[in-house]
Amino acid sequence: MYRYDEFDAGFVNERVSQFSDQVYRRLAGDMTEDEFRPLRLMNGVYLQLHAYMLRVAIPYGTLNSAQLRRLGRIARDYDRGFGHFTTRQNIQYNWPALKDVPAILAELAEVEMHAIQTSGNCIRNVTADHFSGAAQDEIADSRPYAEILRQWSSIHPEFSYLPRKFKIAVTGAAHDRAAIRVHDIGLEVRRNDKGEIGFGVFVGGGQGRTPMIAREVREFLPEADLIAYTDAILRIYNLYGRRDNKYKARIKILVHETGIEVLKQDIEAEFERIKDGALKLPAEEVARIEAYFAMPDLPARPATSAVLEAAAGADPELARFAEVNLHPHKVPGYASVTISLKPIGGIPGDASADQMDLVADIARAHAFDEIRVSHEQNLVLPHVALDDVPAVYAQLKTLGLATANAGLITDIIACPGLDYCALANARSIPVASRLSERFGDPARQAEIGPLSIKISGCINACGHHHVGHIGILGVDRRGEEFYQITLGGSPDETASVGNIVGRGFGSDDIVDAVEKVVDTYLAVRTDADEPFLATYRRVGDAPFKEALYGA
C-alpha cells in the first residue's frame, strides 16, 4: 500500500493549516479573488456552474476501506451525500462550501489523503492500471513505479510551473488498461530476454483539442533509469515547450512540431548527462517501495469454485455478473471484481455515501481491505476469493451496485458536462443515461459484446470521447446542444483516435443515431466473435455513414 511517509504527512498538514488561514482571510475580506484563485486551485478547489468543486487525489486509484469510508463521510457531512469518480481516478465533490473546505482537507489528511497536484501546470496524479497487483497478465505491479514517480514529482520545484499540466500513466501488462498512449508520458512495464524489468516509454499522447497517440521513444528502459529518463523528458519539455499559447503548450504539440526523432535525440542527450547522477534508482529502493504494495496473503484455493458455480447455477443474474464483472487474477481461486458505477439509466461515476460505506465494508470482509478506482469510473475489488463472489454480489445488490455491465455498451464514460462544468458546451450525463436505458436490456448488451461509448461535454475531452469505440462530443450550435459522433477510437495498446463520422446530431436525435451505428455493426460483423472495433477497422466508415446519412 501507498505509505504516505513523514515528509508527506508534515507537508500535507502544513498545507491544510496554510489554506485554512487563506480561506479565513478571503472570507474576512482581506484577500481579493485574483489573489485567492491560484491558492484555492492549488488545493483542488474549483468554482463550477453551481458551486465550488473539490477534487481529491486518489494516487493510482488505490484506496483502503478507511479511506473510502472517509470519502463517504465527507460526502454525507459536507456535500449532498454523493461523490463523483472521474476518469483521472480522482473523486470530485460537487457542492462543498468554501468555508468547509479546510475541515474537509483536515479530514482527508487524517486518512493520508489530500487534494494537492489536482490542478495547475504541474505533474498531476499518476494513474495506473486498476487491476495492478492482481491481473493475471501483468509483468509487474505498476503502482510501485507510479508511487516512485509520485514521490519524485511531488512538489518538485523545477516542475511546478510547467508550460502546461502533465499527465503520466503506468501499465504493468502488455494489454494497456491505463490508456498510457494518450498521456504525456506513458510507461509500460516490460521484461527483456534476460528477465530484467524495464519500461517501454511513450511520449506525447493526449486528448483535448488536438488528440494524439504517444510515440514510443524507448523500447526498453532499464528500471534503474526510470526517474533519470522521466526527468530528462520533463527538462526538455520545460525548456522547449511553448508558453505563448495555452492550446499549443502540451508536450504532444512539441513532439508534433519538433518531430519525434529530434526530440528523442534531445531527450537521450539530456539523459546521458544525468543518468549516472543522483536520479539513479537503486534496486533496494524499488524493493522498499514494492514492499508497501505486496499482495495480501491469499490462502491457496482450488482454481474453480464449487460455491460460485452452484450459486450461479441457481441465479442467472449472478451468473451474468460473474461472467461480465470478474477479471482473471494471478492467484488461482481469486478474481478482481468490478463494481459498476453505471446503473442502467444512472449517472456514470457517481457513488452515494451509503454506497461508499457498503463497498468499504465489503472490502474489509471479503477483499483484503483493498479498493481501486478505475479510469472507467468504476470501483474494483482487486482480490476476492471466487467462493466469496456470491456474498459480495448479494451485498452489492442491496444498494444498486451489482450491474453486470463491465466493458459492455452501458459501461459508459461521461464527464460532468453542462450539468456541472463551467466549461461545458453541452450535457453529457443525460445523454449517457438515455443511451444506457436504450441499450439496458441484458440480452441486447450480451449480443452487442464489448463496446465503449465515451462522452465529453466539450473539446477538453475529460470523457475520453476521442478513444471511445463510439465517441460523443457535445458542442454548442447557436445555443443548442449538438453532438458529434466519432468512431473507431481506442485507448489500449492498439490506440487510435476516433474519426468524425459526419455532421452532428441534436439532443433529440443522438440516441437514435448511436442505435443506428450499433445496429449497423450487428448487421455487418462477420460473426458474434468480431467485436465492434474489429468490425470498424475492417469495414471503415462507409456502412455507418450510409446508415446515418443515407447514400
Binding site: L49, H50, D350, I429
Partner: protein, 104 residues
Amino acid sequence: MQQIVTGNRLIDGVVVFRGPGGSWVEAVDAAEVLGDDAASEAAFAAAMRDFANCVVVDVALIDVKAEAGHVVPLRLRERIRAEGPTVKSDYRPDLRPWDVRQIG
C-alpha cells in the same frame, strides 16, 4: 432585452441572483429584472461592489425572459445554473431532475 445579475456566493459557492434593493437571493424568480441598458449597468456596477466587498464571485449579467412571475434565462447554461442539474438517478432521492424542454 431583459437581464438579471447573477453570481456565486463567496462563502459557499451557491448560485445567487441580485434581487430588488440589492439583496442576493437564491430563487431566480425573485431576481430583479432589468428592462434597459441603464438599469443593467447600474445593477452590474452595484454587484461589482459586492464582488469587491467579498460577498459574491463570478458576477455576470445574463439575458432572461420574464413572464407571469417566472424568470427564465435564455441560455441553456444559465437555465441549468438557475434550476440545478438535469440529471436523474434511481439511487438519489435528493435529485429533482427537470426537463430543459419544459422551461422556456
